[in-house]
Each structure stands twice: as structure tokens, then as C-alpha cells.
Amino acid sequence: MSVAYLRRAMAEPEPPPVASHGVWARTRERLFSGPFNIALTVVSAIVIAAVAIPLLRFLVIDAVWDGASRVDCLTETVGRPVGACWPFIGAKFTQLVYGFYPWGQHWRVDLTFVLGAVLLVPLLIPRVPWKLANAILFFGVYPIVAFYLLVGGRFGLDHVETRSWGGLLVTLVVAGTGIVVSLPLGILLALGRRSQMPIVHSLSVVFIEFWRGVPLITILFFSSYMLPLFLPGTWTLDALLRVLIGTALFASAYMAEVVRAGLQAIPRGQIEAGQAIGLGYWRIMGLIVMPQALRLVIPGIVNTFIGLFKDTTLVLIVAIFDFLGQMRAAFADPNWATPNTLFTGFAFAGIVYFLFCFGMSRYSLFVERWLKRGR
């Protein structure tokens, strides 16, 4: 019996149909796969164009880039419709970063920023070794160095009152202190709230509920203007310090609840297992419960951090000029008052805040992914 046809060579693979691969197919699949999707795509495109094009025109194409005063940003001088007035930001940039920090002393702020970045970046990258030493430097030594650098009054540095601080410096100091203090304090409060000891438990509950139940504005106002009335005459607390304490405690209360959510997700059996092998409370918490609980609540923690970063804008109501406050003060300069000054300023502030918050958010995603590798 003979075989009529036997194929000896493999058939050459045909290229897949045009409709199922390549850029065009992917676009079709995702954006135009049915009447509903087509409609959705068209509507979205119109919306994006309606927002993006004017935004681009305002921020880049029609913007004024050079100038010395408001006159250079006016339509009648430029001779065409004008968008953002960037020379305004240029003229006010130093103030936006340093506030009223004395001229000639700005290097101290710069040095503080640079030192902070140099210590923080390796701490954030998991691959870099010497984490313990780095952490001690950043959390233990750096705040002291930064304090003496910024406040001065020692080591031949002029004393600079916190009253003259402002701008991004204040925003970063308030947010940074809040973030660094609130996490450990929040963990302690969360543990306290779950504690079996009645006094610790009730104190933690009262603390958390009090600070969470009061608006931040009230806390700031109270600590700035009411507290000095209650303290004895010779006792004065620096205005910025009062605000730092207020925001840090406020953030800690929120943090405590976030951490508590994580603690509740850890089954009781794990603690019992820890007890069974003879570990004490702190070791069970430190070695078994916390690492898992914190990993679970990273999104919540970062959420609190981002919220705190943006809440720092409230310090303006107690006469401390943060980044946005300094911007608002800059709006009042008649030398720069134009129809677009306000929009330019807020656009720039928006970009700056977005960069910080987006950075935090991206980093937290990276940490989550990195921690999940082992699973």
C-alpha cells in the first residue's frame, strides 16, 4: 500500500493574519473592537484634545519665557495672546524655595537638601549595602546636622529664626518631620490600641480618637495661638516647632489606624506560634507580626504620607509661609500682576506637588513589587 502523498518538509509558517498582530491590530482590538468601544474612544479623544491642546498652548506655545516685569507678559506688549508668564516664576523662584531665608545664607539650605538626598537615595535602593549604618545616619545624625545648619547660632553660623524660613524648605521640613515621626509613633500607638493592658490601651484610644477627631486647622491654630496663653510667661515654643509637633501627632493618629488594619490581618495563630517557641512580646511583634502587617498596608501608609505632604499647605493659616503660601504672597506683587499670573503660579505649584506625590506613589509601588518577589 502506497501513500498517495506524504509531506516530507514542514510547511512554512504563514504570517498571522494582519488583523491579529501589529500596532494596527492592537489598536483595533483595544480601542475599536465594537460600537461601544468606538464611541468611547472617540469621546475620550475629544476630551483629551479639548484639555491637552489648550494646556499645551498655555504652558508652552503661547507662554512668555523672558521678561523683567508684568509689562513683558501683557498682550499689548507681546502683540499676541499670551499664556503662562514664566519670568514671574523665575523672579520668585528663590523665594519659593527658601522663603525669607537671608540672602547669602542660602547655601546652608542647599547643603541640607543635598545631604538629605545623598543619605536618602541609597536608603531607598534595596541593593545598596550598609542599610543599618545608612539608617542611623539618616534618622539619627542627619536631623541634628540639619537643625544646626538651618537654625545656626553655633559653629560660626548666623542664627536664622524659623520665622524667616519659607517656601519649599518649610514644606519639606514639615512633611519630612511628619513622615519620619508618624511611622514609628503610629506603630507604637497601634500596638498600644491592641494591647491587653488597660491603661496603655485606653491612653492609645483616647490619643488616636482625639487627634483624628479634630481638624488639622484647629490643631494648628490652637497650638500657635492658644498654647502660648496657657504656658507661663517665660516659656516660649518656636512657632514652627509648635506646627511640627501638631502635624506629627496628627499624622501619627492616622498612621496608627492604618497600621492597626495591618495588624488585624495577621492571624492570631502566628502570635501563638511565636509564644509556643518562647519568644517575648517585642520579638513576636518585631520578627513575625510587623514585617507582614506593614507589608500589607504599604498603600495605606503611602496614602497617609501623600495626604500629609499636601496638608502642609494649611500651615499658612498660622502665618508660616510654605511653598504655596509663598506663591500666594508672590501673587500680591503689583510688579507682576497680570491676567495670567495666578494661573501660571498655580500651574507651577501643581507641577511641583505632583512630582513629589507621584514620586512617593511610584516608589511605594516599586517597594511592593520588590517585597512580593519572595512569594
Partner: protein
């Protein structure tokens, strides 16, 4: 228990009193004056490109510092919002408040404050487009008016139009910026707020030359520096610093003519610059206190022109703020 609380409160009050009764001493020991200003109000108190506070209200603080320390830079400025300005003064956070605050009876009495004079007579006015060809507020019958909600501006507006039996339509907005934008985009014919603000908001209009500010002023907004109750010496110093600036203008003493004035034979000029009498010492200051003010800050007219007048971007006319012998109502008691 109640007794204890009352006693405590009384003790607190007493310490507060004794602390506040020596503001001059505190200021001298500290070496700087702490002055409450706005968080940014064009021409009155705003930071310039270098971060130095400038403005009419700021100049008054510098004048006080000049009178005390002979150095106008020995002032620290605290930018206060409208909400916390009086609290900051009461709690002793600042020594003097120079923040375009309107002098009213309730503020002067029940808030425990003293207004030390008027450094700017403000009042509510109207801005319209030139194209409307309106020359007086009395021609505004049937107009649509843009204003800010929840301010006395709205009430004054209602009173004025009712008193003149005119009809109007009000469009109110939550913030000053929204109000300006609405007026600029043509949503109403008239924009009303305090005149000083009208001038600064005018700079934000797309074509500022197409708009005109009407001459009528329909409310009284006397703005001036404020101090705490309970320290009369300090009250006098602030009050007479302002009077010194006004008197200097009246006597024709300015930054440039001060050196001649120091050698002058005229009795009122001699009393002013301190070559005769001990008027400064009566205030707790030095003999040349007023000369120091003029040397470092200038007289009232100079400060006005530099910050809000024709020498500035705002270009506000002197109007009511002219001296009494020049058609205005700025009048200072004599130094003698």
C-alpha cells in the same frame, strides 16, 4: 473648684497684663520689632523679588523700628490672614498689627485692641468699562454688579442702590480672583470692592486701559495700625510714628530735605527734628526720633507715592489721603 479656676484665670490675665504693659522694653531687649502684616496685599504689604517686604503698611512698621533703633531693618514681619490677625496680636505673637484693618467700634472696644490712627482712608468704589460711557455711580441704574460674597461690600452695595432708588442685579463669587475673572469676561457691567483693591485688581484685567474707576466712594473703611489694650506708652509710640510721618509731609520735610531741616530755625521744624524740646523722650524714645523716621522711611507722602501712588504700578490718586490743607482728610496733631 470654681474658685480655683477663677483664680487661675485671674493670675493668667495678670501675667498677660504685666507682660503687655512693657512692649517697648520687650522690643528693645529683643532687638527687633515684630510686626503683623498681610499675607500679600499689593501696595500695602507684599514681598518683592528679593523677598523684602514692601508697602504702605510695611513702611509704618519700618518707621517704628527707625524711631526705636535708628535702623529700619530691625523688623520681623509675620504674614497674617484676616482670620488670625487679631488673635496673633492678643496672644502677644506680634507687637503691632499693620495689616489694612478697618477701624470699627467693636474691634476697638470688645476685642481688647486700640487703633492707633488711620494710615489709609479706603472705601468701596466701582469699576466699569469705559465703553459704557458712565461717569458717575448714580448712572448705574439697572446694572449688573460683580462682587464677593459674605463681605460688607454686598451690604453697602444694597444700601447705596436702595438709597438712590436704583435697580441692580448682583452676581456674587466666593473669592476676589473669581470676581475679577467674571468681570473681565463680561459677566457683569460693574465690579465693586474697596478702591485700593480695585486698583490692584485692575492690573489683572486683560486690557486695563479699557476700564475706569468711578469717583464715588460709598463706604468708610479707615485702615490703620492696631495695638493691644493695656500699654498706653506703646500705643502712643505707634500713634505718634504715624503722626510724625504726616507732620513731616506737612512741614515739607522729606528724605532729601532732612539735612536742611536739621539746621532750620523754624520753631515747628526744630521741635520736629528734635533740635528743640524733648518730645521724643516724653514718648520713651530719643530726641531725634522723628528725624530718624524721615531719614530711613520718608514722610507720609513719599511712602504713599512709592507704594500705592503714582510712583507705583497701582497709581492710586491721593484723594482722601491727601493732607487736610491739600483737599484730603489726613490730619495730624502738632508736635509741641
Amino acid at each position: 473648684m470654681q474658685r480655683v479656676v477663677l483664680l487661675l484665670a485671674a493670675a493668667l490675665l495678670m501675667t498677660a497684663q504685666s507682660a503687655s504693659a512693657q512692649t517697648l522694653k520687650t522690643v528693645k531687649e529683643r532687638g527687633t520689632l515684630i510686626c503683623g502684616v498681610s499675607q500679600g496685599l499689593p501696595g500695602f504689604s507684599n514681598p518683592d523679588d528679593k523677598g523684602n517686604w514692601t508697602g504702605l503698611d510695611v513702611d509704618l512698621c519700618r518707621a517704628i523700628a527707625a524711631a526705636i533703633f535708628n535702623d529700619p531693618s530691625k523688623v520681623k514681619f509675620t504674614g497674617l490672614s484676616a482670620k488670625d490677625r487679631f488673635t496673633a496680636l492678643q496672644s502677644g505673637e506680634i507687637d503691632v498689627l499693620s495689616r489694612n484693618s478697618t477701624w470699627t467700634l467693636s474691634r476697638d472696644s470688645s476685642l481688647g485692641l486700640n487703633f492707633a490712627g488711620v494710615n489709609y482712608y479706603d472705601g468701596q468704589g466701582f469699576m466699569v468699562r469705559k465703553a459704557l460711557k458712565v461717569n458717575s455711580a448714580l448712572e448705574l441704574n439697572g446694572a449688573s454688579v460683580c462682587t464677593q460674597t459674605g463681605t460688607t461690600t454686598e451690604l453697602n452695595l444694597a444700601d447705596y442702590f436702595r438709597a438712590h432708588k436704583m435697580k441692580y442685579e448682583v452676581t456674587a463669587f466666593a473669592t476676589a480672583d473669581e470676581t475679577v475673572k467674571a468681570y473681565d469676561s463680561g459677566r457683569c457691567d460693574v465690579f465693586t470692592t474697596d478702591v485700593s483693591q480695585l486698583y490692584s485688581e485692575k492690573l489683572k484685567l486683560a486690557n486695563q486701559n479699557d476700564h475706569v474707576i468711578l469717583p464715588e466712594i460709598i463706604s468708610k473703611e479707615p485702615l490703620g495700625p492696631v495695638v493691644r489694650h493695656g500699654d498706653d506708652q506703646w500705643f502712643d509710640i505707634v500713634k505718634w510714628t504715624l503722626f510724625a510721618m504726616l507732620n513731616a509731609e506737612e512741614l515739607g520735610i522729606s528724605k532729601s530735605t532732612l539735612d536742611e531741616a536739621m539746621k532750620s530755625e523754624k520753631p515747628d521744624v526744630r521741635r520736629f527734628v528734635g533740635t528743640e524740646g524733648n518730645y521724643g523722650e516724653q514718648l520713651g524714645l530719643t530726641k531725634d526720633w522723628a528725624a530718624r523716621i524721615v531719614r530711613h522711611v520718608g514722610n507720609y507722602g513719599e511712602s504713599f507715592e512709592r507704594n500705592v501712588g503714582t510712583g507705583s504700578r497701582l497709581g492710586i490718586a491721593r484723594g482722601l489721603n491727601n493732607l487736610w490743607n491739600n483737599g484730603g482728610i489726613q490730619y495730624a496733631p502738632p508736635i509741641r
